[in-house]
Amino acid sequence: MSTPTMPTPPSLGRLQRNGLAFGAVFLLGLAVGFFLDRHQFFRSYLFGWLFWLGIAVGCLGLAMLNQLTGGLWGLVPRRFHEAAARTLPTMAVLFVPVLLGLGSLYVWSRPEVVAADEIIRSKTAYLNVPFFVARAALYFAVWSGLALLVSRWSTQQDGGIDPARAGRLRGVSGVGLVALSGTTTFAAIDWGMSLAPHWFSTMYGVLFIVGWTLSALSFTIVLMARLSRESPMSEALQPGTVHDLGKLLLAFTMLWAYVNFSQFLIVWSGNISEETPFYVQRMHGGWGVIAVVLLLFHFALPFALLLSRPLKRHARSLAIVAGLMLVMQLVDLYWLIGPDLLTQGRGHAPLRFHWMDLASALGFGGLWLFLFARQVRTRPVLPLAEPAVRALVDGPQGAEVVTS
């Protein structure tokens, strides 16, 4: 019953080193930006941080979902999902600068604006700084708590599957998914929607739940395809599993389009002044070009490609589509919060890229990948006690036949 020592893919070590170097360079650039344009610094900071946070939260969701549903699509990357989720405490610390820049980001945090604005005044029971901070603390407490608990119990299963612990894991995952949906929704409202404090949409939380799951899924596919060149993932990742991941990617690509189009159609049909500014802002000028780019490359092209069965079964090809989806998720986030970051919910702002946006997205990317790789390397990369996974790794080598 000895657990064979499992090699950690060497590329993870490289990822950790390069991620740190890459992240340090770009975040240093971003830090320089702080002294050049403080308002822009906070805008870019929020954008970059939120994108990578989404992947971590999405991975936590996938980890818990797989505890409930089972299936190799989540068993094979399970340790990676858990590692991604364990970056959440650090991501919470990285939220602190956002709090320092509240005045630059959220108009409702400025008393003189609130005093002059009747609509914001009517929501101060929710939109006020202490409650905002308390809510953020709650979100991170829930996310970090779930990440650590699920990771710990799941890792303990490596020493031998304990049915009681498996039951507890399922219970925590079920309740956890409910908690995760609720906290993600309100986090989206707090950090994204309240940038334009007049505007509201009941679908907004769903856009983030779907978007973050899509990001996490795309990240998983890219990572699995990259690692499939090395042992042990080369044995563990079978075409059937890749196929399932591809089907999930297709499903979430369609779901993303579905929820976004539904919101658009309802707002467009309603045509009332409380709601339309959101789309008026995002459908004209440069933002309108991005909207078309999203339509084509976040939906039409990947949808058409993902219909192909051979593509979905081939890890590297699927990874190209997943990579595109990751980039498009970044563009989507830029389109969702970008206009409001510039205008703070009032008036129009033409599309304007800033080098700090890029520096932030890349810098946080490097930093997060470093955190992630560091976490991955603390545990075996496969949950070998799971019979389905064990069969994959032992099967070809024929080392031992699993009989109970």
Partner: protein, 456 residues
């Protein structure tokens, strides 16, 4: 678990073979004596159906004035019942199409009657938009875009016209899917029937099925294509139904969350109805080996998951109504909770928020009695949800001078109960004359069928 190394949950009782499965299911249809219980049930259902005929006849003679409709509540029981019935149908399509594509084997014993349920529910649903026009014989001209000398077209921007296409497509595809699925079983019945007349009837339905390899090959392909076609319909139909409300500007209707929340609600209501039908069916005909506790438990889980999505919808509606800062939105949610119909909202929360939480516990998920009770509560809850959405939103709109109240008349209730009669009548006929569980698909999950295909 103790006997065999395979850890798959058991979805068929022990000891079954090809022959026992076929005998058991076919005997429900081909038995000589109809059980007395069937006659009793059918009589009740048929009685309610007569109530529907009387109600509709009176409606056509006198007009929609026999209902409680008024201004501002110009759209009450007809749309509530339409949405309730069409939602119920969705579970059938989900089970037959989506669970097939997801390779969920447990769907096998419940898909046939769930699909039948879909068809009958769509029939009941379709009745309401037609009869609520009062003069259905001129209805084609409001519903269908056809070239006419008056140059009058329906409003293509109206989701009501999208509904016409969505629902008619849904009915067509569901009927095809159901019928195609029946063909091999009709052939089985044809071959086993002893009465010449019965043999000919089933033979016509079987369309010359001989079970050759080529037949099976074409059949599997057709079935998969139909499953693929049905899958988007599970989502699209109720999405369009939600647009009926959401594209309007009425507070309480105009919410962007409506499409996914309605779709989840439809599946939720549908699974409750599947349980409502499956539990008595398996008890009465002794089908516990086929519709096992595992099936019931899985359906309980689906019920829980979809109820949570529906509750998410309620939460978002309530929160955003407040967060919007809009007087009208805030009043809408206050009125929903504490207005004249406030009690309906709290009963609705009891039915759809509290009750399904029992499904967290295996104890309740695996007891048929509890599940049946929960399913009945959910059936009521989902009807109330539509009542709350339609009536409380309409009766207090923007202008206090145009506020009003709504109360259903005897004929509103009679029409609604009548459609339940129609539904049950069709269902009783179905279980008497057609195999309520797919014989040939059940044969694929008996141990005999598991040859050496354990290899991937």
């Amino acid at each position: 678990m103790a006997s065999a190394p395979h850890t798959e949950p058991r979805i068929i009782g022990p000891g079954h073979t090809f022959a026992t499965v076929t005998d058991k299911i076919a005997s429900l249809v081909l038995q000589k004596k109809t059980p007395l219980g069937w006659f009793v049930g059918f009589a009740v259902a048929f009685g309610l159906l007569q109530l529907l005929l009387v109600s509709v006849a009176l409606l056509l003679a006198r007009g929609v004035g026999i209902w409680g409709l008024n201004i501002p509540v110009g759209w009450a029981f007809a749309i509530i019942n339409f949405v309730w019935w069409i939602g119920i149908g969705h579970a059938g399509t989900l089970i037959s199409a989506i669970l097939l594509l997801l390779r969920q084997q447990w769907r096998t014993s419940i898909n046939r009657f769930a699909e039948a349920m879909t068809l009958f529910a769509v029939a009941c649903a379709g009745l309401f938009p037609i009869i609520h026009m009062g003069r259905p014989w001129v209805g084609a001209y409001w519903l269908l875009p056809y070239p006419n000398t008056m140059g009058i077209w329906p409003n293509f921007r109206s989701p009501l016209i999208w509904d016409v296409f969505a629902v008619s497509t849904y009915a067509t595809v569901s009927a095809l899917f159901w019928f195609v699925g029946l063909i091999p079983d009709l052939a089985t019945l044809r071959d086993r029937a002893t009465n010449k007349f019965v043999k000919i009837l089933y033979g016509m339905g079987a369309m010359g099925w001989r079970g050759s390899a080529r037949h099976w090959n074409n059949y599997e392909m057709a079935y998969l294509i139909l499953a693929g076609l049905s899958t988007p319909l599970v989502v699209s139909v109720h999405t369009v139904v939600s647009f009926d409300f959401a594209v309007a500007n009425l507070p309480g209707w105009h919410a962007t969350i409506f499409p996914p929340y309605f779709v989840a609600g439809a599946i939720y209501a549908g699974f409750a109805m599947v349980l409502t039908l499956a539990i008595p069916l398996r008890k009465f005909y002794g089908l516990e080996d086929f519709i096992t506790d595992k099936h019931l438990e899985n359906m309980g889980k689906v019920l829980l998951a979809t109820s949570l999505i529906v509750v998410y919808g309620y939460t978002m509606e309530a929160f955003m109504a407040w967060y919007s800062g809009s007087t009208f939105e805030r009043f809408m949610i206050w009125n929903r909770m504490f207005g004249s119909y406030g009690w309906t909202y709290w009963v609705l929360l009891f039915c759809n928020l509290l009750t399904p939480q029992l499904m967290w516990f295996k104890r309740f998920r695996t007891r048929a009695g509890w599940l049946f009770a929960v399913a009945m509560v959910v059936n009521v809850g989902m009807w109330l949800e539509r009542f709350v959405i339609v009536v409380t939103s309409l009766h207090r709109d923007f202008l206090p001078s145009s506020w009003g109240m709504y109360s259903p008349t005897f004929w509103d209730w009679a029409t609604f109960l009548g459609t339940i009669g129609l539904f049950l009548t069709l269902f009783f006929l179905f279980i008497r004359f057609l195999p309520a569980i797919s014989i040939f698909e059940m044969r694929t999950i008996v141990p005999e069928a598991r040859l050496e295909e354990e290899r991937t």
